[in-house]
């Protein structure tokens, strides 16, 4: 089996697990934030924090053992286009609240028969590709170029900053991982309700593990002296766009990791939903709701493409590399989402 085929199959397996776990546990940052803010139920948000910590620790351990080099991922680049990360994150976060779920959640819901998600995904995919390579691409590139901060060190990551200040690389990495993972774990485990909820613990833990699994698939299984696969893990904006593109152009394009993950999630969620009898076709109750979801999908596509990742792509995968840009993007996503539940731009609960 060639390395590209192996990576495609790994993507499908990772997607199937994500779909099944997401369908059963309801893993979702959007609902997590909304429930935390409005119902004081923090279990889903804490599951996301647990996933984030597991993704970080797992990825850094595998990287330390030399399975892949996270500095080669697209999250760690020489400069820091802070405005694209921050603005894109804000737009994504607010869009996620408008559409009542991020791209990954929409894929899981689509598998269980939710057709509202289909509309969101189509909008997200088209807007994402528009921003990456289409009508909005020149604008995105000019903003990115105009606001890129040159950094005095090569690796734009938290551990890179510490080593720049003279800390030895190994210690810098350990400190950086601890500085991020420990607060996340403390936040997750501080809540006795969360500690007593195996569903949320299992959801966060498994989804967290899928991030290093993705790095391993593309970085280790996909490694080849002559034909390497580009290093990637779970992310959903470009893959959603690429999936739409693949359906239309498959004779002229190669099947990538992201596309098989997307297919796997829908299939995994569908299978789980059918097996547990929870599949149900759902549409929009009103046209106004449809408009809101369409705008949400567009915001997520444009914002996610500008910030190079979504709540999963930057929140779990990006942060697992300790990239500085990912911290900015995640801050943007959280603020954007918060604006959707509090303050003058607050949205009604769906």
């Amino acid at each position: 089996m060639s390395n590209t085929v192996l990576v495609a199959w790994s993507g499908l397996v990772i997607g199937l697990i994500f779909g099944a776990v997401g369908q059963r546990t309801g893993f979702c940052l959007t609902s997590g934030i909304r429930r935390y803010a409005q119902e004081r139920d923090g279990r889903m948000l804490r599951a996301f924090a647990l996933a984030c910590a597991i993704a970080l620790i797992g990825s850094q351990i595998l990287a330390a053992y030399g399975y892949f080099n996270l500095n080669r991922s697209l999250y760690i680049q020489p400069g820091l286009p802070w405005l694209a990360y921050l603005g894109g994150g804000l737009l994504f976060g607010y869009g996620m609240m408008l559409a009542n779920g991020c791209g990954a959640r929409a894929l899981v819901l689509l598998g269980s028969g939710n057709l509202r998600s289909l509309v969101v995904l189509l909008m997200l995919g088209i807007a994402g590709q528009m921003t990456l390579t289409g009508l909005l691409a020149p604008l995105r590139l000019s903003i990115t170029e105009a606001t890129t901060l040159a950094l005095p060190f090569a690796d734009a990551s938290l551990s890179g900053v510490l080593s720049h200040w003279g800390v030895s690389p190994t210690l810098a990495l350990t400190l950086a991982v601890a500085a991020v993972a420990v607060p996340l774990l403390l936040f997750a485990l501080a809540d006795p309700l969360f500690r007593r909820s195996p569903r949320h613990i299992l959801g966060g833990f498994t989804i967290g593990l899928l991030v290093p699994a993705g790095w391993f698939a593309t970085g280790y299984l996909g490694a080849d002296d002559f034909d390497p696969v580009s290093l990637a893990s779970l992310t959903f904006i470009a893959p959603a766009s690429n999936s739409i593109q693949y359906v239309m152009l498959s004779t002229g394009t190669a099947l990538s990791f992201g596309v098989t993950v997307v297919a796997g999630i829908v299939a995994g969620s569908l299978a789980t939903a059918l097996l547990t009898g929870s599949a149900q076709l759902q549409g929009f109750p009103t046209p106004q709701r449809m408009v809101r979801y369409i705008i949400g999908g567009l915001f997520m596509g444009v914002g996610g493409a500008a910030a190079l990742g979504c709540s999963i792509g930057q929140g779990l995968t990006g942060l697992s590399t300790l990239a500085l840009g990912s911290f900015i993007a995640v801050a943007g996503i959280l603020v954007g989402a918060w604006l959707g539940v509090r303050g003058p731009l607050r949205l009604s609960t769906v």
Binding site: L74, A137, S142, T144
Partner: protein, 270 residues
């Protein structure tokens, strides 16, 4: 930078619209548009009046590429590759690159299979053309449109490992039967500087290309290649060899500064 992007964007749109308009006009006059290679000077010069066949040769390029700096290309010509009937030359052209010649290859019956894969640079969406010539002087032509979109995510500066420059590697089959065709992969660390690019200091980075590659099996030539600016950095080649007996495959790379590297790959034949 912003203005250049905007003007480039406008220029492309305007060019696209005028081409569309021109095609509409042409379409009403002639039933079909002639293939691009018929109007493309470097190909016309190569054909020198000969009428090529358009079947028996295939060009495989992704329809859409998000990274124009490394687009995989495979060219295949139908041929038995025997002493009396083989493909002798393959030429590749990129119609809208600064230097249209991508690469030229000379094949021999020892190549076994007239198929070559490499990675090329494409400046913009354009037609890529492959021309093959048989030992009897017959030409075969194929062309294919390759679309290139902006490459946003991978803006990492073109830095390369200066210590390992001219470092080549290869992969050959462990063992072949007599007369069996085996696949050879080889690659060399090299920037393939085009001499068209500015560095961070605004100075033109001097041109430095790998311009010659040869593969010989003992004293028999298997493949000769000449590269131009449109071959991607870290040139990569996939070709074939049909050994009649065990021997040593010598892969030799040479760049314009005179730097050269040789790798010797033993070929076991049972």
């Amino acid at each position: 930078m912003t203005t250049t992007i905007v003007t480039r964007f406008l220029r492309r749109t305007v060019a696209g619209l005028s081409i569309a308009a021109a095609l509409t006009l042409l379409g009403s006059a002639t039933a079909y548009a002639a293939p691009v290679w018929e109007r493309f000077e470097p190909v016309k010069a190569l054909l020198d009046g000969a009428t090529p066949r358009t079947n028996g040769i295939g060009l495989d390029i992704p329809l859409v590429s998000e990274d124009g700096s490394s687009v995989p290309l495979t060219v295949t010509a139908d041929s038995r590759m025997r002493d009396d009937d083989y493909i002798e030359e393959i030429h590749l052209f990129a119609t809208r690159n600064p230097n249209p010649e991508i690469a030229s290859f000379r094949l021999t019956p020892h190549t076994g299979l007239a198929r070559i894969a490499t990675r090329i640079r494409l400046n913009e969406t354009q037609e890529v053309i492959a021309v093959a010539r048989t030992n009897s002087g017959e030409y075969l032509v194929s062309s294919r449109e390759a679309r290139v979109t902006v490459n946003g995510c991978l803006t990492r500066a073109d830095t390369y490992d200066a210590d390992n420059i001219m470092n080549a590697r290869y992969r050959v089959p462990n063992e072949l039967a007599r007369g069996e065709i085996g696949e050879v992969l080889t690659m060399i660390n090299h920037p393939m500087e085009t001499g068209l690019r500015e560095g961070a200091d605004g100075e033109i980075i001097p041109r430095r290309l790998i311009n010659r590659f040869t593969a010989t099996l003992d004293d028999r030539t298997v493949l000769e290649a000449r590269f131009n600016t449109s071959i991607s950095a870290n040139p990569y080649l996939r070709f074939h060899v049909r050994p009649e007996e065990a021997g040593t495959l010598t892969l030799a790379w040479e760049d314009e500064t005179g730097a050269a590297t040789q790798e010797k790959a033993p070929l076991q034949v049972r």
